[in-house]
Symmetry: C2
Subunit: 302 residues, 2 copies
């Protein structure tokens, strides 16, 4: 078992801590914000409740996770460090600089970046060969996938080691040949989201209709058969014919009026009570529960 340090105790950080501790690893979580650290235990208990763990088992998991009030206090107790701070390049650089000043050159560092280029995240590091992109999906203790990617200077020994640890936890790892912004999953996701916004902007339909389409067709299929297997299944000739027809009509946008409009009106989505959809009290919790139920029924399926 490895002793992991996690920098950042927010949504992803505490979720990764739970996933690691469930697999028997010890975890020390550091966050610069005392309030985030103070609520850590409570959020971990809630996550374990959502996993339907028995109280005894949950207690074992909780006991493996401790908080550290300073980075120095964290690094002396761990064998590897995961940064799970917000996706801003300046924040990542600052955290990695402070971290490298305190740890030996051979200690592995995993970055939970996906949207940023890992190679850019590694810029300025003293020992960039140890930085591995390890992108977890939310919630990390429930979604099997972890995407692993090397930066331009990463030593592949560190990549292999990360995959070994994650596979040993029962995770489904995929290894990218090289890092690209968005890795694989977020590029696929946001290519689809970009087209959805395009349909709104073209006034073809409203946001609820987009979701109805996804949930009543493609969303029923993609846990069972992926898009490449499906392309072969229906035939690559048919796939190319369809793409030849459709591709000239698909979005290539880099600006998003369908998002700007609600944002300019102060509508940020769930947190503000309204966005593309309406968010009456209780909807946020209902969506979170629906999401977890949906994931679970696909995890147990054949």
């Amino acid at each position: 078992m490895t002793r992991f340090g996690i920098i950042g105790g927010g949504l992803m950080g505490h979720g990764i801590a739970v996933a690691l501790a469930q697999a028997g690893h010890r975890v020390v979580v550091y966050d610069a914000d005392p309030a985030t650290l103070a609520s850590l235990d409570e959020r971990i208990v809630r996550a374990l409740e959502r996993c339907d763990m028995l109280p005894g088992d949950a207690g074992l998991v909780t006991a493996r996770i401790t908080a550290a009030k300073t980075l120095s206090d964290m690094v002396v107790r761990v064998d590897a460090v995961i940064e799970a701070v917000p996706e801003r390049l300046d924040v990542k650089h600052q955290v990695l600089e402070a971290l490298e000043a305190k740890i030996p050159a051979v200690m592995p560092v995993w970055s939970n970046t996906s949207v940023l280029s890992l190679t850019e995240v590694a810029e300025g590091m003293r020992h960039p060969q140890r930085l591995v992109g390890v992108h977890w999906w939310n919630p990390p203790y429930l979604i099997p996938l972890v995407e692993v990617a090397p930066g331009a200077e990463t030593d592949h020994r560190f990549v292999r080691e990360a995959c070994d640890v994650l596979n040993g936890m029962g995770k489904t790892t995929v290894r990218l040949h090289r890092d690209v912004p968005g890795f694989i999953g977020n590029r696929l996701q946001f290519a689809l989201v970009r087209e959805a916004l395009h349909l709104l902007e073209q006034e073809v339909c409203d946001p609820v209709t987009i979701d109805t389409v996804m949930r009543a067709s493609l969303g029923l299929r993609w846990s069972a058969v992926g898009p490449m297997e499906n392309a072969d299944f229906i035939g690559l000739d048919l796939t190319r014919n369809i793409l030849d027809s459709l591709a000239p009509h698909l979005s290539a946008a880099v600006t998003f009026p369908a998002l700007d409009e609600p944002l300019n009106a102060g509508q940020r989505g769930r947190a503000s009570g309204g966005g593309l959809l309406t968010w009456p009290p209780g909807r946020g919790e209902e969506v979170a529960q629906r999401l977890e139920s949906g994931i679970r029924r696909n995890l147990v399926g054949p």
Copy 2:
């Protein structure tokens, strides 16, 4: 109950026939190819087996579907016609011209097009106001979604009528404000497929990895929470930040070397034994079964 004529007894035509007959409608299927008509009964029985219907119920459904050897023989026995011929504009035009010569001006005609523009399909029709785009998903007796769209000249009375019939069958209908190539679902699907091919062409990963990512992350979620609800859930500000970062890197391609390469080598996918993936004997049937199981577990879920 309505008496439907279906032109085209292939994959979609026979599937639509089964869906309609299961809901109590009578169906007459016409196909210009005698071999397609000859195998119709057998394919309907197989479809009903896959629906786990009791033999008595399956017998009732089968009895509602009959074949017609000529278009003239079909049209005299029906109240509405569905064209489910291949997605080629010249083929659609030819079929609709022959059809209109034989039916009254007020008879509804549904076109199962999605990739072509419905307005272009309607060009040359004597009575384009009766043509409604009614796009079913495969298999039509299992996937709830049916997308309904008007062409530029369609009378909205016919659109409402189509939605009423489909909703009465328990289908999940969405109504597009206007027709666009690919409707909604195929645009979302092929925006994602386009980006997947882009990742292959950039040598980020192989086709199997694309499918692993989909099945172990996004595919687990999209039957429960659609992309617009998710955008609100994580916040439209975060959604825009991610898109601002990723969109310039996403594919805007209109050519597809990742498809051309196997196609030029005679690899068309399942039917040719190989394509993006390898297709040993039995894999096609395994994929079909896996797909249906996947759909079913999401249909019964909460």
